[in-house]
């Protein structure tokens, strides 16, 4: 199936048509995606978002430093009615090239357990509370990066002058090992500051073992 969908030598309109028929098949490489207008547009949006957040700056790679590769990931997002919502391109760093102890140390980043989410819903129902939802746009691009990380220039967006230069990251990029942890620390700090002096903040770092509750 895939072989037919990404048949080489098709015109852009033909590719568009086929992609519309089987929208759930997302391109897996930049070379495939760049042929289609919608993916080019989504990549532009991602690069804009990166630049707006001042995620990186172009520098020369210092001697002895290592650069990390980056990769484009494409995903068609569906809404709750299983209709196409948007086409999303995300630039990620190849975190697997990072070395523990050199490029990153702490990676622990707890998320809400499904049990707790359901319990909050049940609790809110009992007390007739409305539940609200917020979504952070490109969450990881907000977070200051404490380590020195250099990434190569993304495909399709190389700078004309300074082709051999690399980007030094100021904010965490998706795919970095420390990104989720750094984001959560930043968010926790913000939440702590929001609470008044009497605020009690407790974090539930809950592992799979049912009795372990750290607070």
């Amino acid at each position: 199936m895939r072989g037919y969908v990404f048949g080489e030598g098709l015109s852009e309109e033909e590719t568009e048509l086929i992609m519309a028929l089987v929208t759930f098949v997302d391109p897996i490489s930049y070379e495939k995606a760049v042929k289609s207008y919608k993916w080019r547009k989504s990549m532009d949006v991602e690069i804009q978002s990166i630049q707006k957040n001042k995620t990186w700056s172009l520098t020369k790679l210092p001697a002895g430093a290592k650069k990390i590769g980056v990769k484009w990931i494409y995903k068609t997002k569906f809404n709750e009615f299983v209709e196409v919502d948007k086409f999303k391109a995300r630039l990620v760093a190849n975190g697997y090239a990072q070395q523990y102890g050199v490029d990153y140390t702490e990676v622990f980043a707890p998320v809400a357990k499904m049990n707790i989410v359901r319990m909050i819903i049940a609790l809110a129902t009992q007390r007739n509370w409305p539940i609200y939802q917020l979504d952070v746009k490109s969450a990881f691009l907000h977070v200051e990066l404490s380590e020195d990380v250099f990434v190569e220039q993304p495909k399709g967006y190389e700078q004309k002058e300074g082709r051999h230069k690399v980007y030094k990251l100021h904010k965490t990029l998706y795919g970095l090992k420390q990104a989720p942890q750094a984001w959560l620390v930043a968010l926790r700090l913000t939440l702590l500051m929001k609470g008044s002096k009497s605020a009690s903040v407790s974090k539930h770092c809950v592992s799979n073992k049912s009795l372990e509750v750290k607070s």
Partner: protein, 266 residues
């Protein structure tokens, strides 16, 4: 991560899943203030009332909240080519048992694991599929066509019940009631039993599990006792969390069990 804030005596509960935040509280003003202050700090999309969280659809109505994973279920069915299959009424045939190393043609391990993994997420709102998912996941090492048939049956059940979800009523029972059950020597290989429990505050299930026991038991009484012990552990955890969320229960947590000899043991 789950955070509680108390501002001017009003409680606000925030739950974070990487970049998705859900929050609720007893004062409209406090929640709105929280939203505004967060939007100042981060670049956020205000999604209003919680409608769709981690692929789970949330319907907030006057008489309660309904959650379901219809979209997720349909996607799973489409992915494994089962969207046109005939629906069945139960996820597994009664007292259906298979061996790990049965005869029959081997099938692709990765494919089998993909189905199990996809079904695993469906159990986030579907406690009725919990047993069958943990059952089929025991055969991931050497799956044969027979094992795949059991998996396909679970998918066919899902096809007929894609709209199923959990409805939390706001006039439901306020007590924390739990039910336990276990089979006896259900596993053909090591004769261990499977214990299961479900927590039902306000009429909707909140926490559930179906797990093969770690020890071999000699009678149904003992098997159910083991299940009761696992359930109690979870109950202690739940009560602690509820206490931290300022929702401490004064009364006891009721554990309901169908074996009178197990109840006498306790």
């Amino acid at each position: 991560m789950c955070v509680k804030q108390i501002t001017r005596g009003k409680i606000l509960i925030v739950s974070v899943y990487v970049n998705d935040l859900i929050f609720t509280g007893d004062d409209e003003q406090v929640t709105l203030e929280f939203k505004k202050s967060m939007m100042k700090v981060f670049d956020m999309i205000d999604l209003g009332k919680m409608r769709f969280f981690l692929d789970i659809k949330v319907l907030q109505k006057d008489n309660g909240i309904y959650i379901c994973q219809r979209k997720c279920a349909l996607e799973v069915l489409r992915r494994f080519g089962m969207e046109e299959s005939n629906a069945v009424m139960n996820p597994i045939v009664l007292s259906f048992k298979i061996r790990k190393n049965g005869k029959g043609n081997r099938i692709d391990k990765t494919y089998y694991k993909q189905i199990v993994g996809n079904l695993m997420y469906i159990t986030a709102t579907r406690q009725d599929m919990m047993f069958v998912v943990s059952f089929i996941s025991r055969f991931m090492v050497r799956p044969t066509e027979l094992h795949l048939q059991a998996t396909k049956r679970a998918l066919r059940y899902l096809k007929g019940t894609a709209n199923y979800g959990i409805f939390y009523k706001n006039d439901g029972n306020k007590q924390l009631v739990t039910f336990i059950y276990s089979d006896y020597a259900g596993n053909l290989e090591d004769k261990k039993s499977t214990s299961s429990y479900v927590f039902m505050p306000s009429g909707g299930a909140v926490s559930w599990s179906s797990k093969k026991q770690l020890i071999a038991t000699l009678s149904t009484t003992k098997a159910k006792f083991v299940a009761a012990a696992a359930c109690t552990c979870q109950a202690v955890w739940m009560r602690r969390i509820l206490k931290q969320l300022n929702h401490a229960k004064d009364g006891c947590t009721t554990v309901i069990c169908d074996s009178s000899s197990t109840i006498k043991l306790l």
